[in-house]
């Protein structure tokens, strides 16, 4: 019993320490950073004034700026819109493909999964620039459409894989039973396959929705100047205007917003499950 517990700590310890040091602590540093003044040339102003008149210590100025102008909330709303649309398009495109792979003969499945992840073998930026070349001649570049295309293209495998993993586990006898009991093709999908695939849909949606919010490269390369999303704003705060506290505050706001959306989604899902 005792050695069992020791083993548990031995196995669970290193990743736990890793997460504390490289995730929890940085997150806390970010919270503190969002409450400080920006340094003169980037970075953060000191906590204690070293010369008279210097801005030092803690402040909620970044938050005041954020809430005093609608433009930031608008960018947040737009970002969530882009993420939601990307997630939806990914879902609609991934579902039939995942179902097709899951119902293929076993010996072809691994090959098909390999083809799904094959694009990862070439560099992400190269693939996004390829979209520039493809969309350019059609005058579609630097538009919302181009941004969504790029986002969907890059994130599609993250939707296909969890969906496939889920659909592959479905017991085909359940569909036989549903058909036997009077369900046509549409009813069999809607009442059996779809509800049973909800866990796959949720993990796929999380794997697409959250990274899209933080993505800045695709909007920057394929979108126009008006198509900034939160990711661009954060990147610009750190690397452009060099206002670290403001960037930290935006990151924190984004984290809170994502948690709120995820919480609402899982609450809705639980409620839906009870009703169904």
């Amino acid at each position: 019993m005792r050695s069992n517990r020791a083993l548990k700590w031995l196995v669970g310890g290193p990743p736990f320490v890793f997460l504390v040091v490289f995730f929890l602590l940085p997150a806390l540093i970010m919270v503190v950073a969002s409450l400080r003044y920006p340094g003169d040339f980037g970075g953060l102003a000191p906590l204690f004034a070293t010369r008279p008149g210097e801005e030092a210590g803690l402040t909620v100025e970044s938050y005041q700026v954020f809430f005093s102008d609608w433009v930031y909330l608008e960018i947040f709303a737009k970002s969530f819109g882009v993420a939601a649309l990307t997630t939806f398009v990914c879902l609609v495109m991934a579902y039939p493909l995942a179902a097709l792979i899951a119902r293929s003969p076993k010996r072809y499945r691994d090959l098909m999964v390999l083809l799904v992840v094959l694009p990862f073998a070439s560099n992400f930026l190269v693939r996004v620039y390829a979209w520039m070349i493809m969309l350019g001649p059609f005058e579609l570049l630097f538009s919302r459409f181009a941004v969504i295309c790029g986002m969907v293209y890059v994130h599609l495998p993250f939707m296909i894989l969890p969906l496939y993993t889920n659909l592959e586990k479905h017991d085909p006898t359940l569909l036989d039973a549903a058909q036997d009991l009077g369900a046509g093709a549409w009813q069999r999908f809607w009442r059996v396959t779809f509800p049973l695939s909800l866990p796959g849909i949720f993990s796929g949606a999380a794997l697409v929705f959250i990274p899209v919010l933080g993505m800045f490269a695709i909007p920057e390369i394929l979108g126009g100047k008006d198509d900034w999303i939160v990711g661009n704003m954060i990147k610009e705060s750190f690397l452009g205007t060099r206002d670290w506290p403001f960037g930290s505050m935006l990151s924190l706001m984004l984290t809170i917003a994502v948690l709120a959306v995820a919480g609402a989604a899982s609450w809705l899902a639980a409620r839906g499950m009870r009703r169904a």
Binding site: D171, T173, L174, D176, A177, A178, Q179, D180, L181, G182, A183, G184, Q187, R191, V192, P195, L196, M273, A276
Partner: protein
């Protein structure tokens, strides 16, 4: 007219005929069983009745109507699957309501029918449970209730008791019979267990290698098997191989190597010199102590090779003079049970002339 009629149905998988020119008819209200070893074609036949598979030749008629163009979802035939196939994301009540919703019943009608079905299988208090919260026997009942709730014309059962332990299986057998009588729906039951088939069925079709070997009532199948396969498959049997030595009316004598002429009865037309076998049930064989004068036309000295005591009865395995082993079943507590024998004891074994069946196939 029979409710379900199967006419010359054949289904091939590659060169193999899984179902080979089978014809049979099932009457309304019957408990009909397809019995056979695995791979005999019984499940293929069941899938064709359900509509999941189509025959390569022949027709399936329900109430005289060809079902070839009717998909499974439109056949008034439901199946209880071996794995139960309950929908894991639905409660017991939702599972049972499924066929009613598919048929477009009104909500209050669904509620009352679901309650009725829950009562039929004694699961009134489990309506809000999910399948993973139920025991094997309870899942089985839910599957039955779900398949019976909108009163199909025929209920197909694919080895539904296979996954239950022995005691529970016996209980479910008794319940199945009671349930079938109560609802009056025709059951077509598939099993490889001959004891299950004998216990449950009004008629049994014994299948082997895609063909029906014999179709009869359980007692006729047991008492009068038509050929060696059926005799061997249903119950335990001693097979004495020999050739027909003489025929006088119903009296037949069979020459068996090492035993001489064995006297038996047969109404069948037998040709002298033809190969035949006497199929003898263990309970038809009587044994006594070595010196005991068994007043039987067929009696032989023997030696107890081994015995199997199972409480109510004991099966003795007796070595006959020709080296053949004969099984004899003796009840343990009946009046007149004179003696118990040990392995190695010298005994006398015998049977009357009217015991057993003479088989040529």
């Amino acid at each position: 007219m029979a409710l379900l009629e199967i006419r010359n149905v054949t289904r091939r998988f590659g060169p193999l005929a899984a179902v080979d020119n089978v014809s049979l008819s099932v009457e309304a209200g019957e408990f009909f069983t397809l019995l056979g070893p695995s791979g005999c074609g019984k499940t293929t036949l069941l899938r064709m009745i359900a509509g999941f598979d189509q025959p390569d030749a022949g027709t399936l008629l329900l109430d005289g109507e060809d079902m070839a163009d009717t998909p499974p979802e439109r056949r008034p035939i439901h199946t209880v699957f071996q794995s139960y196939a309950l929908f894991p994301h639905m409660t017991v009540a939702q599972n049972i309501a499924f066929p009613l919703r598919m048929a477009g019943n009104a909500p209050d009608e669904i509620a009352s029918k679901v309650n009725g079905a829950l009562g039929l299988v004694h699961l009134e208090d489990k309506d809000r449970h999910y399948p993973h919260e139920l025991s094997g026997g309870q899942k089985q009942r839910v599957a039955l209730a779900r398949s019976l709730v909108n009163r199909p014309r025929v209920l197909l059962l694919d080895e539904p008791l296979g996954a239950l332990d022995a005691k529970l299986r016996e209980e479910m057998q008794i319940e199945l019979i009671a349930m079938q009588r109560e609802v009056g729906i025709t059951f077509v039951f598939v099993t490889h267990s001959q004891s299950e088939a004998l216990a449950l069925s009004s008629r049994i079709a014994v299948m082997n290698a895609g063909r029906v070997e014999q179709l009869d009532e359980p007692s006729r199948l047991y008492g009068f098997p038509r050929n060696r396969f059926v005799a061997d498959f249903i119950g335990k049997i001693n097979m004495l191989e020999g050739e027909v030595a003489a025929v006088e009316g119903d009296n037949v004598s069979l020459r068996v190597a090492g035993l001489g002429e064995v006297r038996c009865r047969s109404a069948a037309a037998l040709r002298v010199g033809a190969r035949a076998a006497l199929a003898l049930r263990p309970e038809q064989v009587r044994i006594g102590a070595a010196g005991e004068a068994l007043e039987l036309p067929n009696r032989y000295p023997g030696k107890v090779h081994d015995f199997l005591y199972v409480g109510d009865v004991t099966t003795y395995v007796v070595d006959l003079p020709n080296g053949q082993r004969l099984q004899a079943l003796l009840p343990n507590s009946s009046a007149g049970r004179a003696q118990f024998f040990e392995a190695g004891d010298a005994v006398a074994a015998g049977w009357p002339a009217e015991a057993g069946v003479v088989l040529t196939d």
